[in-house]
């Protein structure tokens, strides 16, 4: 199962430990994050399920290409990183 790690900046607001999340694309993985931890999910996705404008996601060493539908694939053992974009601070 993919593993999701979160920027340490989130620790200022809530516990955000790495977690396993099911799915074979970024959309599915982040939706599972929201199911497991809705409060944490609201820091990453807005109420329509869109990736927040100034949050960025990497799968392994690849920054995702599709911010709109989050279709980038995620392999079973891959790591997904949810990070702050350098914009938006």
């Amino acid at each position: 199962m993919p593993k999701v790690a979160f920027t340490g900046q989130l620790q200022r607001f809530l516990p955000a430990p790495s977690m396993e999340a099911a799915g074979n694309c970024v959309r599915a993985v982040l939706d599972d994050v929201c199911r497991q931890n809705p409060r944490l999910g609201a820091y990453v996705l807005d109420e329509q399920g869109s990736l927040r404008k100034h949050v960025t996601v990497f799968v392994g060493d690849r920054q995702i290409a599709d911010r709109l539908t989050l279709s980038d694939p995620v392999g079973p053992g891959e790591e997904v990183y949810v990070l702050q974009a350098l914009s938006g601070g």
Binding site: F13, R39, E47, G49, S50, R52, V55
Partner: protein
Amino acid sequence: MSNRILVGTKKGLFDLRRTGAGWSVGTVHFLGDPVSAVLGDPQSGTLYAALALGHFGNKLWASHDDGRTWTERVAPAFPPKPEGTEDPHPWTVHSVGMLEPGGVPGRIWAGTVGGGLFRSDDHGESWILNRPLWDQPERQKWMGGGNDQASVHSICVHPANANDLVVGVSVGGAWRSRDAGATWSLIGDGLVADYMPPELQGAKEAQDPHRVVQARSNPDRLWCQHHNGIFRSDDRGTTWTRITSAKPSAFGFAVAVHPDKPDRAWFVPAVKDEKRYPVDGKLVVSRTDDAGKSFAVQTNGLPQQPAYDLVYRHALDIDGSGERLAFGSTTGGVWVSENGGERWAELPARLPPIACLRFAA
């Protein structure tokens, strides 16, 4: 008189206290994070702070112990946008700009940038979008004013009837409900939008009230600092009179009204309307005591050397006594008056840019 002021800034919530020596910064909360709205609920004593985080969205926090500890609450949020809708506007809360006690225990109204009006009946534990207002056909014509999306920024809850509401939307006009938000009427005869084509300048849904406040002793008396000047209503917003005597300008964002003297109101004027800085670089407050027939310009204690402080719509407040006022600026200045603005004292601090300022118990 209130001896406490909550100041929401670009970099945290500053809790100001008045001691014998004057006003000073007490505790600071959420240091480094943008605070878009604050409320000290007079009924429950709970403090609320809305954060507009640059990366992680709008959040709501509450404190039951006067700010010693804070817990996160569910923030106001829209339901899923229906598939196939022709609504061109996003169904997302950009930020909470206003938190207002609803006049009955547990009720709080939240106005948002994004155009949603939300209600909580459980002290902010949960929020429901007011669909009757959101579903008004005129809402499709609402526009951003300063922000990309429309902002619900003012709600006047009738002091004797919590069901009677007047709401101000920038840009989307003034709205009244007499049934706690179950139905709404678009009001505002007499408001004028100079920025619209000639035939649409009186269109009620095209009006840009920057801020609407009511007089506690006479809730039919409303004051509006509008994009195109100052307006007064004597019939709870049904009709408005344009006030043309304001000095040094009629443009601004903030307005405060004396709770028991409805003819007395304060404004912080600026150069209209894309420029938005104090006229001649001098920070002044203007006050009318005669319902807008004349204005006195207050300068005592305010910087008259080059000063480019702008005061946002939620950054001027008056306490229950009607004598103590405070305002905060985009350049982080706070000024407090103990005598209706005859004399102002500057807070000995340079705060981050101020979004909102409010007296609290």
